[in-house]
């Protein structure tokens, strides 16, 4: 009796696989491609907040109108794990990450295809892979922003550790445990001050009833509106909020001699090994580290461009003169497991 069903099933399977084929197969493109005629699909996985990456994609798209740029954005670790999962059957062409540790870890797993973009030598060595498998784009700092209407200058917290002071109870906003910048900060702190002190700090935040949002856009808006007094953010969120006309100020924490200094990090990009549109992927990486691309990040996002010679946004404080934390990339990467353990133990939302 079952045999009568086979035609039906076969048809369904056929339809399904036909549809699947039509949506998943990359367009075949000729291998010889000249710069201005890139076509087909460019699939970008991004762990960055969408509005921070869309302007540069739009500019790239204008340059190559034939190209179909497809973005999948999600949390940094979700995208990173998707890449690991797809190692045998890669779907994406390019990965953009919010922090270098993920790039480093994925490179170790052999996910990326090394590529030296145009102008590679003008990028700082600290933020590129030894084997050129990934390249840093922009730098940023972890800072505290505050609402100038609600906090007077003389009571400002001078250190990240001051955020656990009970006098700020219920008045601090931060991004939650799914946020990659937050994860990277915790991992960096483990290297800088040790696991115990980091754990104590996390528990202190929980005890201080910090409001944890899904992302930093919410944090900056909450501080900007005065819903909360202090916010733990990447520096550009302060500038973005300031540009909206809010009364906010910025604190560069842990500057005193002997303190750990500002935790900084960089966004990075890489080509996926097995990319089906290598020419487009290379052109995109070239564009990201080109003067034009770097200016978009600097102007629109207030990020520190890594390409030497690209001007900072005039409002931005130059890095020279700030006490920066001494972060060892290779070490911090090994602290990620401990980071997630700490997050779970502290029950960070």
């Amino acid at each position: 009796m079952l045999h009568k069903l086979w035609p039906v099933l076969a048809t369904i399977t056929l339809i399904l696989s036909a549809c699947a084929g039509s949506t998943s197969q990359p367009d075949a493109i000729s291998s010889i491609e000249n710069e201005n005629s890139l076509s087909g699909k460019l699939i970008i996985y991004s762990g960055r907040s969408e509005p921070l990456i869309q302007p540069v994609m739009t500019a790239f798209q204008t340059k190559y109108p034939q190209l179909e740029v497809l973005l999948k954005s999600g949390s940094n670790s979700q995208m990173a794990n998707t890449l690991l999962e797809e190692k045998a059957n890669p779907q994406a062409d390019v990965f953009i990450t919010t922090e270098v540790f993920t790039a480093y870890a994925l490179s170790r797993e052999g996910i990326f295809l090394p590529y030296e973009p145009v102008g590679y030598q003008n990028l700082p060595d600290a933020y590129k892979a030894e084997d050129a498998s990934w390249v840093g784009l922009t730098q940023r700092m972890r800072v505290i922003m505050y609402n100038t209407d609600l906090v007077s200058p003389d009571e400002l917290p001078a250190s990240l550790f001051a955020l656990t002071d009970p006098k700020w109870k219920g008045q601090i906003a931060a991004a939650g445990s799914t946020n990659a910048s937050m994860q990277a900060q915790i991992a960096s702190m483990i290297q800088l001050v040790g696991q115990d002190q980091t754990e104590a700090w996390l528990n202190g935040l929980i005890e201080n009833e910090v409001t944890f949002f899904g992302g930093h856009s919410d944090v900056r808006k909450a501080v900007g509106a005065g819903e909360l007094k202090l916010g733990l953010v990447n520096h550009y969120y302060y500038y973005l909020q300031l540009a909206e006309g809010s009364n906010v100020g910025i604190i560069y924490p842990d500057q005193a001699p002997g303190e750990m200094g500002i935790i900084s990090n960089a966004t990075a990009a890489a080509i996926i090994k097995g990319s089906k549109n290598l020419n487009a992927a290379r052109a995109f990486i070239d564009f990201l580290v080109s003067e034009e691309g770097q200016e978009i990040f600097a102007e629109g996002n207030y990020e520190y461009p890594l390409l030497t010679g690209v001007a900072l946004h005039p409002d931005l404080e130059p890095i020279v003169g700030l006490n920066m934390a001494n972060i060892e990339l290779a070490q911090v990467v090994n602290h990620f497991e401990a980071t997630f353990d700490l997050i779970d133990m502290a029950n960070l939302p």
Binding site: M1, A20, Y45, T58, V69, S77, Q78, E86, G176, F340
Partner: protein, 544 residues
């Protein structure tokens, strides 16, 4: 001799051997139930150390949070839904015919859109209402905190009550006047009559509505995530999206499914009873209660409910949308990669539409089998195919990611996985519609067709299908509506470039870009109203 032998064997085949349709129905039930079984196995075989850690650190809080929300929302929706139904069905409150429609319309608004608006209005200091108050120099500190338990409960109540409203309104409508009159003649006061006669006879309808609401609450991700009240669904999403810890996600999902299955079982039990309201020849509608001067209060209650659950949200969406569309910069910002608004609409509509068609196609064999061959096995298949009610979107996503990777790698990273998720999750709605359509069809019509030498397939196409078609369409409208609003599974399973309206609304409003999110949200509501209108027209309370 030969003939009677053939006849007898024919009859025997009919009564003892399994009909062909059973195999098809069985395979569909299997398809529907595999994700649940897979997750349960993954959960049970999870690392005991991890289990212990989860039990110690999270389980109690998640359990109490989830149950508390469940209790509050079902109580709230029951109170609100039943009183709205009572006002529109049993009293002479002015405008009740229009209110019936308006009260059902919030079904077109996904609760997370409601939550976005709720937050935009009520955020302390940052919210629109608090800003207006500040401009008027009124301190806004008296405003309640919009987040957390009360915020989530409030939003979920005002966007879920229509389920209870529709079911209890139908029950009120079918009330027989004679029962109430008998009670009054036996000396009961109107108040006693209400509690002792009216309520018991509409109770099955209310309970069924409340249980469906409970299952929805267990599955709800967007609202609780946005309002920061952690339940199982949002905790699982965090595990998947933020840490990609599938073992922990599987364990939490296993517990959540068990909880949902208990509720679903209760719902199955009540389902049979819900049909006891009978309309015989003796039936005549109960007389309306004249509210007299209190009519104005009834009217205000109806109006206020509609205001909060429909007029304000949609009004605000329209306002933001015009702002967003008029502002060139925002409008050009409604672009992700190379994809724009048209592509979001297209993706939403085709994926939901395809899911609706598949779900209804799959539901037909189940419906035929359970209605034409009633028995333990057919009922089991029918119930198994409805297990999707108990699998929240995040759990469907988790199981499909693992299953597709393992067994159907050619489907990986295609939009068909998203469609599959919708089918698994919403096929129960199609099964119920198809079953009730089949039940209304007398088997004698099919038998007549068979006597006229049509084979089973011809009979189905020429007789059964045209007659059950309205029921099938209703089922597909329901699946379409639900799929359109689905958020967590779409977020987790979509391939690059596959952006739906729901996904865009969510991501943009998470970033706080309400002007960008509003047109997508408004379109979502407008598209949802189309199948909703079609569905509501079939409801008894909208027929005069």
């Amino acid at each position: 001799m030969l003939k009677t032998e053939a006849l007898r064997s024919n009859r025997r085949r009919h009564t003892t051997s399994t009909p062909k349709i059973a195999y098809l129905a069985g395979m569909i039930a299997l398809f529907a139930v595999i994700p649940v079984i897979y997750i349960l196995i993954r959960a049970l075989t999870g690392d005991p150390e991890l289990w212990q850690r989860i039990i110690q650190t999270r389980l109690i809080k998640l359990f109490s949070n989830t149950l508390l929300l469940l209790l509050a929302v079902t109580t709230g929706t029951t109170l609100l839904g039943v009183s709205m139904a009572w006002l529109t069905e049993r009293t002479d409150v002015p405008g009740r015919k229009i209110f019936r429609w308006l009260l059902a319309l919030p079904l077109a608004i996904p609760p997370y859109v409601g939550a976005i608006i709720h937050l935009a209005l009520l955020r302390p200091r940052g919210g629109l209402i608090s800003q207006w108050l500040e401009e008027l120099n009124i301190p806004s500190t008296f405003l309640p905190n919009p987040t957390g338990f009360w915020g989530a409960a409030f939003v979920l109540i005002i966007f879920s009550y229509p389920y209870v409203f529709l079911l209890s309104a139908a029950a009120f409508r079918s009330l027989n006047a004679t029962y109430g009159e008998a009670a009054r003649m036996l000396g009961r006061t109107p108040w006693q009559t209400f509690w002792q006669v009216t309520i018991p006879s509409i109770r099955p309808g209310i309970t069924a509505g409340a249980l469906l609401v409970s299952l929805d609450i267990l599955a709800e991700y967007g609202t609780v995530a946005l309002l920061r009240f952690e339940t199982f669904s949002s905790a699982i999403f965090v595990q998947l999206a933020g840490r990609y810890d599938r073992s922990a996600a599987s364990i939490l999902s296993g517990v959540l499914i068990l909880l949902a299955l208990v509720i679903l079982y209760g719902e199955f039990r009540i389902q049979g009873q819900a049909q006891f309201t009978q309309i015989g020849s003796q039936w005549r509608p109960a007389a309306l209660i004249h509210l007299g001067k209190r009519r104005i209060w009834g009217f205000l209650a109806l109006f206020f409910t509609v205001l909060v659950s429909f007029i304000i949200p949609v009004g605000l969406l329209v306002f933001w949308s015009t702002q967003g569309i008029l502002d060139h910069q925002t409008f050009s910002g409604m672009q992700i990669g190379s994809k724009g608004l048209v592509s979001f609409i297209f993706n939403s509509v085709w994926s939901s539409g395809f899911a609706a068609i598949l779900a209804v196609l799959f539901s037909i064999p189940i419906a035929i089998y359970v209605v034409r061959y009633p028995g333990k096995i057919s009922r089991l298949f029918s119930r198994l195919s409805q297990v999707g009610y108990a699998i929240p979107g995040v759990v469907v996503a988790l199981s499909l990611v693992m299953l597709v990777n393992r067994f159907l790698p050619f489907l990986y990273a295609t939009s068909l996985v998203v469609v599959m998720a919708y089918v698994v999750r919403y096929i129960p709605q199609a099964v119920r519609s198809s079953e009730s359509a089949m039940r209304q069809l007398s088997p004698s019509l099919e038998e007549a067709s068979r006597l006229l030498k049509r084979n089973a397939f011809q009979t189905f196409v020429q007789v059964t299908l045209p007659l059950i078609l309205p029921g099938l369409l209703a089922g597909s409208a329901l699946v379409f509506l639900s799929s359109l609003k689905e958020l967590p599974a779409t977020l987790l399973l979509r391939p690059a470039g596959f952006e739906t309206l729901a996904v865009r609304v969510w991501i943009w409003s998470e970033e706080g870009f309400y002007f960008q999110a509003a047109p997508a949200a408004l379109l979502l509501v407008v598209i949802a109203i189309i199948p909703l209108f079609f569905l509501l027209r079939r409801e008894s309370i909208f027929k005069q």
